[in-house]
């Protein structure tokens, strides 16, 4: 999905590009494509609905399944999981967030912030599969996530055109502005958590996943990195809309070009 979205974004930079995928595509068959879309900082919201299982084919483990997590038939997963957030950090991702499909209150502002981001916004949503991965022994069940979720980083999304309605967030709040004037305000539950410090975020996530805890929230944000179009120096207007007359050098130039081929 990621390269198709990249092509769409390349042709029309005015479109809001949203990619919705699962852990099967994003972390296995399309893993390479996700990695390179992150590296290119394609401006899009990329959502991974992560349930740790292949549901449509009836319950095989996906690459995000935790070691020891059990399938519905009771077999344990033996392979180490790929953590989308840690992956993103290592690839230079500019927006990383994790939410939980059981917590709309947290997820909605995350998605809004992802849409406002000026580059590749990767949002992993732990989305328990009620059919094949919501049982005892699974680490991606509603029960497990509710029990082990650490809402460490609160984020409030403030759209550019809306008044801030005075929601007072306790604790120290950090505000990061998007290019269009919207803003995200973080409240760090652990003192000193800085969502702009890549190394610290990585250490924090590793530490908590080692304890079987799922850290959710807007985890990392960097608005300073140029996106695909800025990197390629494309014009403000979408490439697809450029008039043909501007694109074709014409007969006279062709003759001149060929003068060198004689």
């Amino acid at each position: 999905m990621a390269p198709i979205a990249t092509g769409v974004a390349a042709a029309n930079r005015e479109l809001v590009v949203v990619g919705v995928s699962g852990d099967g595509d994003s972390l296995s068959i399309g893993l390479g494509h996700l990695c390179h879309a992150i590296r290119r900082n394609v401006r899009m919201l990329y959502v991974i609905a992560d349930n740790g299982v292949y549901g449509l084919t009836k319950g095989q483990f996906s690459a995000s399944a935790d070691v020891g997590s059990r399938s519905r038939r009771g077999e344990p997963n033996l392979l180490p999981p790929i953590d989308a957030m840690l992956l993103g950090l290592s690839l230079g991702a500019t927006f990383l967030a994790r939410g939980f499909s059981g917590d709309k209150g947290q997820l909605v502002p995350i998605l809004k912030a992802g849409l406002a981001h000026g580059g590749f916004a990767l949002v992993e949503v732990i989305s328990p599969c009620v059919q094949f991965n919501d049982h005892e022994g699974s680490t991606k069940s509603f029960g497990y996530v509710r029990q082990h979720e650490l809402q460490e980083v609160d984020a409030d999304f403030i759209p550019s055109r809306e008044e801030i309605r005075g929601q007072q967030i306790p604790g120290t709040a950090t505000e990061v502005k998007f290019h269009d004037g919207a803003a995200v305000r973080f409240r760090a539950v652990p003192p000193g958590y800085d969502p702009r410090d890549r190394r610290a975020v990585e250490a924090y996530l590793r530490d908590h996943s080692g304890h079987g805890e799922i850290v959710t929230g807007l985890l990392y944000l960097d608005e300073s990195v140029p996106d695909l179009h800025q990197l390629n120096g494309t014009p403000e207007e979408p490439l697809w809309s450029l008039p043909y007359e501007r694109l074709c050098p014409g007969a006279a130039e062709l003759a001149q070009f060929q003068a060198r081929l004689r």
Partner: protein, 613 residues
């Protein structure tokens, strides 16, 4: 053995042959012989004589044998030659093979800095020794210079032997190295070294040589990959995505260079920071490359990719997606020898079936078959029009021989009145005038349904999917609804046939033998037909799939048809048989699949032998 010194071993010529000969240069890859090769080609080209150059190179960076063949033909036969009047034997590894390929009474030029042993000589061959390494060692200081300049000194010898005007070759060097005075000086010095040695010690020119004709007005030297890139530029492509692979890499290298030259902002020069009216992505693999092309085309840009062999295999799934969802895409396949990694620097036309029916399920694509760089240019432009008109992938099947060799072709022309055919794309006003918009409904006579571009109007919004869908673009598993779309896709494919480049037909009245070929086989096959005495045959070159009706009529009109192509399995023959329903016995395969460009002699021999059977 005594050094030949001034003694000249040239034997009297049987008869001078002007502008009709072939030479072959045997070298080691990575020693810098390529620029010398094109220098010679260009020098001969400027004499107004038909010339072709075939670069036979290994798939490595350095150390393996490489050959360059130049054929000069006043009669216009520029397919690869099979025997050589002059062999320039500069590679010890291949010496035995090289000397065997010299024509009887032909010549062999060698570096007699290391004199030949008597067993290295072949009776009947004229040996021309020039102490090239010695000459260069005396003149140049570093090993690198000596290696590189030995090629130029060799060119100097050849300029003398072939009767080329040394002043014009010197002028060519000036054009090439105008910005590198030091290199120019070295090149000119090396050229003189070889030239002066040859004119002093050898009898120049050789009995076969070049005599200047009228200047080559209206003709150019260009390789197919550059021509494809020019086609993409002129077609208005703005997005390109690719994964590097031999022999298609120079398509995108060429496109990048052309874009840097012609697409950086409005003219005249607006200074720094001019916007780039293009976006080229070097993708992570060929799946991604074609995915990006599909995404960009879906969003309304003209986008293309270029690949070869294994890359086409990786693109199979995406070709099916674009076919079934009806998204335009242009895919250039510069064919090389397969299967698998195969021989990356050798030529074949073995992707014909893979291209025509790429992907699982019932799929069929539009395929264009250019035969030279000029057709690469024109067909590339047409490929975008066809892709958008029929909302489907179009594959341009070039090959290594066309793509990576310089060809002499008529100067490319352009009609400034050309405007892209964007096909049936509904805008906001048209959508507002409709009762409803169904992506796969309202087919026209050619089976094409209207599409919309994202972001234009919510009235045109729809979900496209690779899963089974009906005319509304809704998911379906209903046999009737599914078949309705599949049947229309077949109708659409057939309807494209008359819009493709028509086959080239040269009918001989009363001929009962037909010879059918494709792509770069063209020159060798035409020449072969002149070599087969007493056989009246008509000629047809296929230029597009689905085949024009004319192709079927041609087969019907002949008792026997030979299908000459560069693959083992007779892929074009199979496709012709399937599509035209011609009886198998009527279509005789003439398959060449060793990886080297076709020669007329081989084709003539194969056809003659089969006719005798």
């Amino acid at each position: 053995m005594a050094r030949p010194g001034v003694s000249v071993e040239v034997k009297p010529a049987a008869g001078a042959r002007v502008n009709e000969f072939a030479i072959k240069l045997a070298n080691v890859n990575g020693t810098g012989s390529a620029s010398t090769n094109s220098l010679l080609m260009q020098a001969i080209f400027r004499m107004g004589v038909s010339v072709s150059g075939k670069n036979l190179f290994p798939s490595n960076i350095q150390g393996l044998p490489t050959w360059f063949e130049i054929r000069v033909s006043a009669s216009g036969h520029t397919a690869r030659a099979s025997e050589y009047d002059l062999m320039v034997a500069m590679n010890g590894q291949t010496y035995t093979q090289d000397i065997a390929e010299v024509q009887a009474a032909g010549y062999l030029l060698y570096d007699d800095s290391w004199p030949l042993e008597s067993e290295q000589r072949r009776p009947g061959v004229n040996f021309l020794g020039v102490p090239l390494a010695q000459l260069c060692a005396d003149r140049f200081a570093t090993t690198k210079e000596r290696t590189l300049m030995k090629n130029v000194a060799t060119a100097g010898v050849l300029v003398a032997l072939l009767g080329l005007p040394v002043d014009e070759v010197t002028a060519l060097l000036e054009e090439t190295y105008s910005r590198h005075p030091r290199l120019l000086e070295d090149n000119q010095a090396a050229l003189r070294l070889g030239y002066e040695y040859a004119t002093t010690h050898l009898s120049c020119p050789l009995p076969f040589h070049v005599v200047k004709l009228a200047p080559p007005t209206g003709r150019i030297l260009i390789d197919g990959n550059t021509a494809v890139a020019l086609g993409a530029l002129y077609a208005g492509a703005t997005v390109a995505a690719w994964y590097p692979i031999t022999p298609s890499t120079s398509v995108m290298d060429g496109f990048s260079r052309l874009c840097a030259q012609y697409r950086q902002g409005p003219k005249p020069d607006a200074g720094e920071g001019r916007p780039h009216d293009y976006l080229i992505v070097q993708a992570e693999d060929e799946l991604a490359a074609l995915s990006m092309v599909i995404g960009a085309n879906w969003a309304g840009a003209r986008a293309f990719t270029a690949t070869s062999g294994p890359g086409l295999s990786l693109m199979q799934e995406l070709l099916g997606l674009a076919y079934y969802t009806e998204v335009p895409a242009v895919v250039v396949d510069v064919q090389r020898a397969g299967p698998s990694t195969g021989m990356p620097t050798r030529v074949q036309q073995a992707d014909i079936l893979a291209a025509a029916h790429a992907s699982h399920g019932d799929t069929r694509h539009i395929v264009l078959f250019p035969a030279d760089p000029a057709e690469c240019f024109y067909f590339m432009v047409q490929a975008f029009d066809l892709a958008e008109r029929f909302q489907t992938p179009v594959l341009l099947l070039s090959d290594l021989e066309i793509g990576m060799n310089e060809w002499e072709v008529p100067e490319l022309t352009w009609d400034d009145r050309y405007r892209p055919d964007r096909g049936r794309v509904l805008g906001r006003d048209e959508l507002e005038a409709l009762d409803h918009f169904w992506r796969y409904g309202d087919a026209d006579a050619e089976g094409v349904t209207p599409r919309t571009l994202p972001g234009v109007s919510p009235l045109g919004g729809h979900l496209i999917r690779g899963s089974g869908h009906d005319r509304r673009a809704d998911y379906t598993e209903n046999p009737g609804e599914y078949q309705e779309v599949m049947d229309r896709l077949l109708r659409k494919h057939r309807a494209a046939a008359p819009h493709l480049p028509p086959p080239v037909v040269e009918a001989q009245p009363g001929a009962d033998i037909g010879v059918i070929t494709v792509g770069s086989c063209d020159l060798a096959v035409r020449e072969a037909l002149e070599l087969i005495p007493g056989v009246r045959s008509s000629y047809l070159r296929v230029r597009g799939y689905p085949f024009a009706e004319e192709v079927g009529r041609f087969i019907e009109a002949h008792r026997l048809c030979f299908v000459v192509e560069e693959n083992r399995d007779g892929q074009l023959r199979s496709l012709l048989q399937i599509e035209t329903g011609a009886p198998g016995a009527k279509l005789r395969s003439v398959p060449s699949y060793g990886g080297l460009p076709l020669t007329a002699g081989w084709v003539a021999e194969q056809i003659t032998r089969q006719l005798e059977d």
